[in-house]
């Protein structure tokens, strides 16, 4: 099915706040999941007669389970601080893509059915009945949010629209309006073990092929081991790293780092996916089930360390949630946590990001690099939203900004940041995160990338930047597709470990 035609936004010198154009993105509708997919997930596949009761029941359930949802729906004062912060609003001008308006799609229903003021005076407080039109708006606009949390940085009460979007999608699933893209992926990971549905034998073939490529290229027999019992490190990486370009270049980089440092490592065919779309759908049980594969693999292989490859939302789930969901981490005093904790090496953070690991190895001199091998590149760095605003690296707050940059500067001589208000905690999402990386949302993705591409364009003009490094599989896939639409070459996009791979000295 061909996507509708749309105009590519024009790149200006500055990121401009557009005038409202009501309804300009109301037509953007991601494909709805079919019966097979919804059945497998245990959700209905169509709106039943009782859809409204089901939706409100689910909302009540979530309000009782998530303080974030309850407080965020109550606390907003409509001050407007977030209205110009969302990349989808900046790129589309649709007012329902302003974070507060996106939240209000749910808040109006919350007020109507769960608050005294909304029950008594709906018009006065902007409360609305839950109708099919409202539900359609939810479906459309909760799939135009990448859950990037930029709005939560700027909200005086820390209201995070991602929490509302997640709840919205969870409710939509429970009434039979699941999103095809995310739910198909969750099905694949539950059934096969990774988002791409790559079975074990195919994975082994791919890794063997890569080993041959590396040896042909460098003359060194760098291995990509899988399912090795007793290995020290289990590497869990997004499955895109196994075959997508430019992702695979980073996978080669990780392998070279482990080889050069003499670390005994392994991948796992059972846990061949770091990504976790359970996060995007706001379903705790699904997210936990996906994450449990990693715990199970770690226990089975008897590894001492768990390291995560370049993936933004995966790092959020790993860093912030794995300890909660699966006991990967420290400080648990229940039998479930202790079983795994006693196996892990307490001298390392668990889980550890591959950038933390490589940066430490370079700083301590355990691996050697020659940054001049990247002298053909002028590099900038795109802070991925989930790394920047939902996780950390290292021991200090903000390590998620300094460590990747330290690492880039160690392996490349030419580095320039993009404008300050577009990086660090203010970074702009790539436009394809949070379950939107699907062709049926191409217009949303291209327009949502506008702020980031504007900032990139400025460093290209000013410093002749020709490489945008990043540590997220979704960002990489999104930019290789979207940058060409703005006239940039897709070879500008790559992982930090792609740079490491070029600069590292192998013996």
């Amino acid at each position: 099915m061909a996507a509708a035609e749309f105009d590519i936004p024009e790149l200006k010198d500055d990121i401009e706040i557009p005038k409202l154009r009501e309804g300009s993105m109301a037509h953007a509708k991601s494909f709805v999941a079919n019966q097979a997919v919804q059945d497998a997930m245990g959700y209905p596949h169509e709106l039943g007669e009782d859809w409204k009761e089901r939706a409100l029941d689910k909302m009540g359930d979530l309000l009782g389970k998530y303080r974030s949802l309850k407080v965020f729906l109550d606390a907003c004062v409509h001050c407007g601080a977030c209205t110009d912060k969302c990349h989808y609003y900046l790129g589309t001008s649709d007012p329902k893509n302003m974070p507060v308006a996106r939240q209000d799609l749910m808040r109006q229903v919350y007020r109507r059915y769960f608050t005294t003021a909304g029950k008594l005076f709906p018009k006065l407080v902007g409360a609305k009945d839950l109708t099919k039109e409202v539900l359609d708006d939810w479906y459309s606009y909760y799939h135009q949010c990448s859950e990037c949390r930029r709005c939560s940085v700027f909200c005086p009460y820390g209201i995070d629209t991602a929490e509302i979007t997640m709840a919205g999608r969870e409710i939509l699933n429970h009434v039979g309006m699941g999103q095809k893209y995310s739910n198909e992926i969750l099905n694949k990971v539950h059934r096969i073990g990774n988002n791409l549905g790559l079975p074990g034998p195919a994975l082994e073939d791919t890794l063997e092929g890569l080993e041959e490529d590396i040896e042909a290229d460098t003359g060194v027999a760098v291995k990509l081991p899988i399912d090795v019992k007793g290995a020290e490190v289990l590497l869990v990486t997004p499955s895109a790293d196994f075959f997508s370009e430019p992702h695979v270049e980073s996978l080669i980089g990780y392998a070279k780092v482990f080889h050069a440092a003499g670390i005994n490592w392994t991948l796992s065919s059972h846990a061949s996916e770091a990504g976790n779309f359970g996060l995007f759908n706001g379903n705790y049980e699904n997210m936990r089930k996906v994450a449990m594969r990693i715990r199970d693999a770690a226990l089975e292989l008897g590894v001492k360390r768990i390291v995560v490859g370049e993936c933004g939302h995966a790092w959020r789930v790993a860093y912030s949630f794995w300890n909660t969901l699966t006991g990967i981490g420290y400080g648990g005093n229940d039998p479930f946590s202790i079983e795994l904790q006693k196996q892990l090496d307490p001298t390392y953070p668990q889980p550890q990001h591959i950038c933390e690991l490589t940066n430490d190895l370079i700083k301590s001199g355990k691996i050697k690099v020659d940054p001049s091998l990247n002298d053909d590149l002028v590099v900038t760095y795109h802070d991925s939203c989930n790394v920047a605003r939902a996780s950390r690296m290292g021991t200090e707050p903000g390590g998620q900004f300094t460590i990747p940059r330290e690492l880039i500067k160690a392996v490349a001589n030419n580095f320039h940041n993009m404008a300050d208000d577009t990086i660090y905690e203010s970074t702009f999402c790539c436009g394809g995160g949070g379950g939107l990386l699907t062709d049926d949302l191409m217009e949303v993705r291209v327009k949502g990338a506008l702020p980031r591409v504007t900032a990139l364009n400025n460093v290209v003009k000013e410093h002749q930047v020709n490489f945008m490094a990043m540590i997220c599989a979704i960002c990489k896939a999104q930019f290789t597709k979207v940058l060409p639409k703005y006239g940039f070459d897709m070879s500008m996009v790559g992982g930090i470990h792609q740079l490491v791979s070029k600069a590292i000295k192998l013996d």
Binding site: L20, K65, R67, H78, Y157, G331
Partner: protein, 239 residues
């Protein structure tokens, strides 16, 4: 006496309503670690972050200087004005309340200017106009009217403040005294009572809400401490 009854009911609704909301927020679990990072790694750091939010409106400052200026003028004007009003509820008046009297009087200008700025934004900025509900406008109008009626009594036509104080001191010991029959005062008091009643059922819940906001009140230490909600811990036992 209508006004005495009105204040008893308003106070009851405010205290019970707010108390219930705070209880409800505190009993609702936050199952996942979701601080907006970079976030402090310790509880002390969280207190410092929260203090900066509550006193300086740090996130709002990052976000929008106009809203910050008007919002801060309003809230701190209101704080000084409220503290000044303690003199009508204490006998003898606490010494620090006496000290801030002059500041509290003029803080009413801060308050009303801030409110007027916020109201103007609701009309002038297309994005803010789009998200504003009738109650958003009315809330500002109510606060401005409370402010202006108060300022009229402070600066223009003084009311019988001695009798008013006797009224409130009486209320506090359930000894109902007559309220001065001054129309501006009566309007001022009625609007304040209305605000108290609205508080626990409106967006004014942002005041307790911020302290319960997980993106601001959680420490960033998920690798070191296992954070788990009771309903989620039950899932561990199935494995």
């Amino acid at each position: 006496m209508i006004y005495a009854g009105m204040f008893y009911i308003a106070t009851l609704l405010l205290v019970v309503g707010l108390g219930y909301k705070i209880f409800d927020y505190s009993r609702t679990p936050a199952p996942l670690k979701i601080p907006t990072t970079p976030a402090p790694t310790t509880q002390t750091g969280v207190v410092y972050r929260m203090a900066k939010e509550v006193v300086l409106f740090e996130s709002l400052f990052k976000s929008n200087k106009w809203i910050w200026v008007f919002g801060w003028l309003f809230h701190f004007g209101l704080l000084l004005v409220l503290l000044r009003h303690l003199r009508y509820f204490t006998e003898p008046v606490w010494f620090w309340v006496s000290i801030i009297q002059p500041f509290g009087k003029y803080a009413s200008f801060m308050m009303v200017i801030g409110l007027a700025g916020l109201l103007a934004r609701r009309f002038l900025v297309d994005r803010v106009r789009y998200i504003s509900t009738p109650s958003d406008f009315l809330m500002l109008v109510l606060l401005i009217a409370i402010g202006i009626s108060g300022m009229l009594m402070t600066f223009v036509v003084h009311t019988d403040i001695v009798a008013l104080k006797a009224f409130f001191l009486g209320l506090m010991v359930f000894d109902v005294q007559p309220v001065p029959q001054d129309p501006i005062l009566l309007a001022h008091l009625a609007m304040v009572a209305l605000l108290m009643i609205i508080f626990p059922v409106s967006k004014l819940l942002h005041a307790p809400g911020i302290f319960f906001s997980p993106t601001r009140n959680q420490a960033d230490n998920p690798r070191e401490h296992r954070h788990i909600a009771a309903w989620a811990a039950r899932l561990d036992q199935k494995n």
